[in-house]
């Protein structure tokens, strides 16, 4: 088995993909066999992700290179005497490892949760085929070093996500939400493909590192940057293009919503990779930074204010998730603006933005899973007709509160650790930013307390069905996510120093190492 260790990056994609292809066939042997098989595939993928992280942290930070189909071993990207890489290759640096860890964690918990949550639904085999395809595509999105390959995986996430959003086809709103989301995803994919076509026409190559060294900032490069910015911004649900997000998160089954948040974060990673690495040498950081800071403020503000008006539990959490994307953008935007002048504060904001990714994935995932359990027990999503679930669902209500407080950035939980870094960084740039960020967090706390009171406390409305505590199969993944939320909150230093700082350093200072790993001496 140890002979396969150097092939971990490729296996990280091949194993869940094989699982996705085999799921319907194994499904013919019965539901429990299939669930066991899917759980095994998810566990092996998480183990591969951990192995990749451990192996990477040992290799003094230079990016791992894995060339697909490389004839003489896998380390040779460039045939003799050539300046452009030929084959598709995975290029993994600290930022990629960080994103892979987030994906492995959330998809594992969501997958384990879905076994019990969807037990009495039809079409289980096909659901798990799509679920594993979505996992593979997100992992592929975060690991590949080839721009067109990035686009292909982006499209797989679009199609698999829409298949999953329209899973409850008998409901009135699910097919309509799936149709709307698919149109937005197609439009986003077209923008990305146009940009890739233009970059290929201009530089004749598709490898991210080669493009990073070849881009000179000509007219075509800037148009391609705009298209990439719009396309990936649409997929990451930044505000002007966020119309699809509440429908997608609201209508999809609960475990799928948790994975969709990670899908948006993967596109956000794509946006950072494009801005920092590919256009790192060319784009003038300050203008782009202010643009992102403005986008971030609007995202935070719209996300929180509209969340106040929602009376559908899942859409309320969806808008909460939307505003958290704003915090990540704020951290990175502030970093782009301040690092040229005050590097230490800028780097703190960058670390905050990146650390907030894993924190947000954990708390939003926890909130969506607990909301799913609550909705399953109450039989309705409308806040006015739910109530008094805490009497029977003690642990679920506690977990909901943990997720809500973490999301609002209350001290003992992980949300506080990353938001504090963002506040600190943005305060240096302009106090107004920090004020808006803090106010929005408080507003978000109010929103979630209102939701908690409506769903869990208060008298049980007479007509409501008597929902018992969530079954064990659903509680275990929730507790795992809660442990991550609390663990990251109590010892932030340990995690920041081990996985977040290398990721931030790789993203900001690691551009030359990224290019050098592929192009060697050129």
């Amino acid at each position: 088995m140890t002979a396969l260790v150097p092939h971990v990056p490729a296996l990280l994609i091949a194993v869940p993909l094989l699982g996705a292809f085999l799921a319907p066939i194994v499904g013919k042997l019965g539901r429990t066999t299939r669930n066991g098989f899917v759980a095994l595939v998810l566990l092996v993928t998480a183990a591969l992700a951990a192995l990749l992280a451990v192996r990477f942290l040992g290799s003094n930070g230079s990016p791992i290179l894995y060339v697909m189909g490389g004839p003489d071993g896998f380390a040779v990207p460039l045939p003799s005497g050539m300046a452009t890489p030929i084959r598709i290759m995975f290029e993994i640096d600290a930022m990629n490892v960080f994103m892979v860890l987030i994906t492995a964690l959330v998809t594992l918990c969501a997958g384990l949760f879905s076994f019990r949550y969807l037990r009495d639904r039809s079409g289980g085999d096909l659901f798990y085929a799509l679920f594993l395809l979505l996992t593979t595509a997100i992992l592929g999105l975060e690991v590949t070093g080839d721009l067109f390959n990035f686009f292909v995986f982006l499209e797989i996430t679009s199609i698999a996500a829409c298949g999953l959003i329209g899973f409850q086809a008998w409901q009135k709103r699910a097919p309509e939400a799936a149709y709307k989301v698919m149109t937005m995803y197609t439009l986003a994919g077209i923008f990305v493909l146009l940009a890739i076509g233009l970059l290929y026409a201009e530089h004749g190559g598709l490898n991210m590192a080669y493009l990073a060294s070849a881009i000179r900032g000509s007219v075509v490069d800037q148009v391609a940057l705009t298209f990439l910015f719009v396309g990936l911004g649409m997929k990451a649900a930044a505000v002007p293009l966020h119309m699809w997000a509440p429908d997608a998160y609201g209508e999809a089954p609960a475990p799928v919503s948790a994975v969709l948040v990670v899908n948006s974060q993967a596109s956000l990673y794509g946006l950072f990779r494009v801005m920092f690495t590919i256009y790192g040498g060319v784009a003038n950081a300050v203008l782009l930074g202010w643009l992102i800071v403005a986008l971030a403020l609007v995202t935070i503000f719209v996300g929180v204010t509209v969340a106040l008006l929602q009376n559908d539990l899942k859409r309320l959490i969806a808008y909460g998730a939307l505003s958290q994307i704003g915090y990540m953008l704020l951290g990175v935007g502030v970093a782009l603006v301040t690092i040229p002048t005050k590097p230490d504060f800028g780097f703190v904001a960058l670390q905050g933005g990146i650390f907030h990714m894993i924190n947000d994935a954990a708390c939003i995932g926890l909130l969506f899973l607990t909301a799913g359990a609550a909705i399953r027990a109450a039989g309705t999503r409308d806040l006015n007709r739910m109530g008094g679930l805490a009497h029977t669902m003690r642990l679920t209500s506690v977990l909901f509160i943990v997720g809500a407080l973490a999301l609002a950035g209350i001290p003992p939980f992980n949300g506080f650790a990353s938001k504090f870094l963002i506040y600190e960084g943005s305060f240096q740039l302009n106090p107004f930013l920090a004020v808006v960020a803090v106010l929005s967090s408080i507003l978000l706390l109010a929103v979630f307390l209102k939701a908690f009171q409506a769903v869990f406390l208060g008298p049980r409305p007479e007509g409501a069905s008597v929902g018992g505590e969530a079954p064990l199969g659903m509680l275990v993944p929730m507790v795992v996510l809660a442990a991550v939320v609390i663990g990251f909150g109590l010892f932030p230093g340990f995690f920041v120093e081990r996985i977040v700082t290398p990721a931030a350093r790789a993203l900001w200072y690691g551009r030359d190492a990224y290019i050098h790993a592929v192009l060697g001496g050129f």
């Binding site: 002979a3 396969l4 091949a14 003489d72 896998f74």
Partner: protein, 159 residues
């Protein structure tokens, strides 16, 4: 379009005559992917167009005897797994390593001199296998999509 809709006699007889030829041509395109323009995707699409032609000409009765829906779904998964397995065969050196090319012992292993030539079928290592895998996958996938939409549409009539 209700399901027992049938086209005119002319269309039905021509379809009965030509759908076999279309299928054979489709497999030709799949098989010669590495020599002539074509390959798995294009050939699979040609063959599934033959099934679509049957569907249009004879309504759902056209595919009754010829195509088993569940078998096609499983065949698609088999094709996908075969394609992934071909990628994994070369895992010793690297994922997707073409280990069959240029070693004469293996079928499709012959090497090819540089420059224009008349093209020998038994060349290009894993490419012909991959063409077959993808061709099977596209053929069964597209047909089951067309059938699913037909059945989806018909169910809509009953409600």
């Amino acid at each position: 379009m209700n399901s027992d809709y049938r086209m005119s006699v002319v269309v039905r007889t021509i379809t009965r005559l030509t759908y076999g030829l279309i299928i054979v041509f489709g497999f030709y395109v799949i098989m010669h992917g590495h020599l002539t323009p074509g390959g798995g995707f294009q050939g699979g699409a040609v063959v599934s167009s033959a099934f679509a032609l049957l569907l249009v000409a004879f309504g759902s009765a056209g595919l009754k005897g010829r195509v088993n829906r569940h078998w096609f779904q499983t065949l698609e998964e088999v094709g996908a797994i075969f394609f992934l397995a071909l990628g994994l065969f070369g895992i010793g050196t690297a994922f997707f390593f073409n280990l069959f090319a240029n070693n004469p012992g293996v079928p499709f292993g012959q090497s090819v001199p540089f420059g224009p030539n008349s093209g020998a079928v038994s060349t290009a290592g894993t490419l012909p296998w991959m063409n077959w895998a993808v061709g099977l996958k596209v053929l069964t996938g597209l047909t089951s999509v067309v059938i699913a939409m037909l059945i989806g549409g018909r169910k809509e009539e009953r409600e």
